[in-house]
């Protein structure tokens, strides 16, 4: 298994190189540059030209790429033109927010998904199952942005149960207990919004697996041994039905750690998803580059994580 992990991580290297080159080139050919957005009308065209030359704007692309790689290897991914901060530091700030939001979203999503999946699977075609299936259809059809706005309108604007957005109130001192409590408080509504939507995959998967396994051969064998129905469910049906759900967890983690662009944007939550979209709009290419590469790495690691989870939970699968 270790061999496979090493192999996968090694494959990551050429992937990142090719990806970074591609992004770098694309970014390079986009019209406008970081200066376009913040041109002070007072700055003379001659001064602009001088700045551009000074920052290497007219260098050929491979020189720029070489410079970028050299810096990147030293941990310098450039500086955000918008925030005047090193990219790494900027992403570091946002990554923490996204990480905790992702964790909470996952907990909600899997908690609800497993619970409702079990109910729907066990009581197939009963009213409870029908209600849950109806919910999955509605959630599937619901655009994330619309659902986020509805939740903000109802729970924050009308009922005042939760804040409208952001990640923490400015009044609290960093590091104090009220500060963390407020962070948690800000996270609940966006996490709930995401969790309620992302959970449908888990519900549907689990429901179908449970229904399939209910009359599978080995479950009939267990019945023929005289195992009580309750135990059959927990030992034979549920554990087997959980396998595909577990195998998707790795992808889900990667997906959520990338930051949900829509939810973070609508809730104006300072995470990586929002940073990504803002950086694109502001042509803050150093940040965009770094984020895309980060997302790619996360995706590959997510697949690897899924494979590892599979080998842990399913004895039939052994990666060599």
């Amino acid at each position: 298994m270790w061999k496979t992990i090493v192999k996968r991580v090694l494959i990551l290297v050429p992937q990142v190189i090719i990806l970074s080159l591609l992004i770098f080139l694309l970014a390079n050919f986009m019209p406008g540059d970081a200066l376009t957005g913040k041109i002070d009308p007072g700055v003379s065209p001659a001064r602009l030209e001088e700045l551009r030359r000074q920052w290497g704007y007219y260098d050929p692309w491979y020189v720029k790429y070489g410079r970028w790689v050299q810096n990147a290897l030293q941990g310098d991914l450039g500086e955000s033109t918008a925030y005047k901060l090193p990219v790494l530091q900027l992403i570091g700030q946002r990554a923490g927010n996204t990480f905790w939001l992702a964790l909470m979203t996952m907990a909600i999503s899997y908690g609800i998904g497993i619970l409702l999946g079990i109910i729907a699977g066990r009581y197939q075609n009963k009213p409870a199952d029908k209600a849950i299936v109806f919910y999955t259809f509605v959630a599937l059809a619901m655009p994330t942005v619309v659902f986020s706005l509805i939740n903000i309108f109802v729970f924050a604007f009308k009922l005042h149960w939760f804040p409208m957005g952001g990640s923490v109130d400015v009044v609290y001192t960093v590091g104090t207990l009220p500060y963390y409590r407020d962070k948690l408080y800000h996270m609940i509504l966006p996490a709930l919004t995401g969790g309620l939507l992302y959970t449908i995959g888990t519900i549907q998967f689990l429901r179908n697996e449970i229904i399939d396994y209910k009359n599978s051969d080995f479950v009939v064998t267990a019945r023929s041994k005289g195992v009580p129905e309750k135990k059959i469910f927990s030992r034979h049906i549920f554990r087997n039905a959980l396998l595909p759900v577990a195998s998707f967890m790795g992808y889900d983690i990667a997906f959520l750690l990338g930051g949900s662009i829509f939810i973070e944007y609508v809730f104006s939550y300072p995470g990586m998803g929002r940073l990504f979209i803002e950086s694109i709009l502001r042509r803050d290419y150093a940040v965009v580059n770094a984020l895309i590469i980060l997302f790619a790495v996360l995706t590959v690691l997510g697949t690897l994580l899924s494979d590892i989870i599979m080998t842990v939970v399913d004895p039939r699968i052994r990666i060599k």
Partner: protein
């Protein structure tokens, strides 16, 4: 003679009486087992033979009520140790399942839980039926694995089903079925998924263990060779009905029902069939599907059109030909095989 005597004193273990098992298809119930009555004696191997779709597996699952209840109806009576199994609640039935009646299935790969070690799957049956602590359960599981001829019980105990060969898996399955020394074992095509040499080993093993624990076996199979090797008595099924029941020697030497005769004759290299280069006598047509069974009169009549309708009974009755030989419908009296075309 000694054998004959033993037969006389044999006690009946299980009595199936007018069993009807129907499956729901598009809102209608169709009987896959249609009025089967049958007695199984202690310490005997009763083989139920027939081609696919004749209802033999549906019959096997009905005994312990293992069908999917959502779309199956099981009617009639199944008496076992003074109780009618079909009237018992699931909880009451669970006391009998695995303890008094064990089951062996066709495909040991799908019939074993892929996520549970073999040892745990054997112990599971012991857990609910025997008051043992975990140490003695493990000891018993290892014993059982040794009994079914597994070379290294300690290793197999902690292996998963996919790590075993087909024959080993079926041995483990047999260990599960026999773990509580049941008085009846239902074996549904136990060797169909195996190679011939493995099949021979498994059949010999089953025969040896049957003699040891003196249980009755209901052996469901389509393989007449397996019947000849294993069975004491044989019931032949066609279109949901038992068409003939007889002692094993009797049925091979003197098959009477037209279906039995045609079936035995179509076996390559059987005494009745074509040995060598001869053409095999065949039954034209095929086993009717569940929805197309002609439920009036003799169900085999459409496939032997050269036998005049007057030879069949309107409502086929069982005829006792000999003490241990029963045939359905009177058409057997005037039946002759016709060499089939193509």
């Amino acid at each position: 003679m000694e054998e004959e005597k033993n037969k006389m004193v044999r006690k009946e273990l299980l009595r199936i009486s007018n069993l009807v098992t129907s499956f729901c298809i598009n809102g209608h119930y169709y009987a896959a087992v249609d009025g089967v009555s049958l007695g199984i004696n202690e310490n005997e191997v009763f083989a139920i033979v027939g081609e696919s779709g004749c209802g033999k597996s549906a019959l096997a699952l009905s005994i312990l009520n293992l069908h999917n209840k959502a779309h199956t109806k099981v009617e009639g009576n199944i008496y076992f140790k003074g109780k009618d199994l079909l009237t018992l609640s699931t909880e009451e039935l669970n006391k009998i399942r695995g303890r008094d009646i064990g089951m062996i299935f066709q495909d040991p790969l799908t019939a074993l839980n892929p996520l549970m070690k073999i040892g745990a799957q054997i112990e599971e049956a012991l857990f609910y039926h025997a008051s043992m602590n975990s140490r003695s359960r493990k000891k018993r599981a290892l014993e059982l694995l040794e009994q079914v001829g597994i070379q290294n019980p300690g290793l197999t105990y902690s292996q998963f089903p996919h790590e075993l060969s087909g024959g080993m898996r079926q041995r483990a399955m047999i260990a599960i079925a026999l773990s509580c020394k049941p008085s009846l074992v239902i074996a549904d095509e136990p060797t169909t998924a195996l190679d011939v040499t493995i099949q021979a080993q498994i059949l010999d093993l089953l025969g040896r263990l049957q003699k040891e624990i003196k249980s009755g076996i209901i052996l469901i199979t389509h393989d007449l060779g397996v019947v000849a090797e294993m069975a004491d008595r044989v019931g032949v099924m066609y279109a949901g009905q038992l068409v003939e029941i007889a002692d094993v020697k009797e049925i091979f030497l003197n098959p009477l029902h037209p279906y039995t005769r045609s079936l035995f004759a179509s076996m390559p290299n059987s005494p009745a069939g074509g040995r060598g280069d001869k053409r095999l006598p065949v039954i034209e047509g095929m086993v009717p599907s569940l929805l197309n069974i002609e439920r009036q009169g003799c169900r085999f009549a459409p496939r032997i059109p050269w036998i005049p309708a007057s030879y069949h009974e309107e409502v086929p009755q069982y005829h006792r030909v000999k003490e241990d030989h029963v045939v359905l419908c009177s058409c057997y009296k005037n039946f002759y095989l016709r060499k089939g075309r193509g």
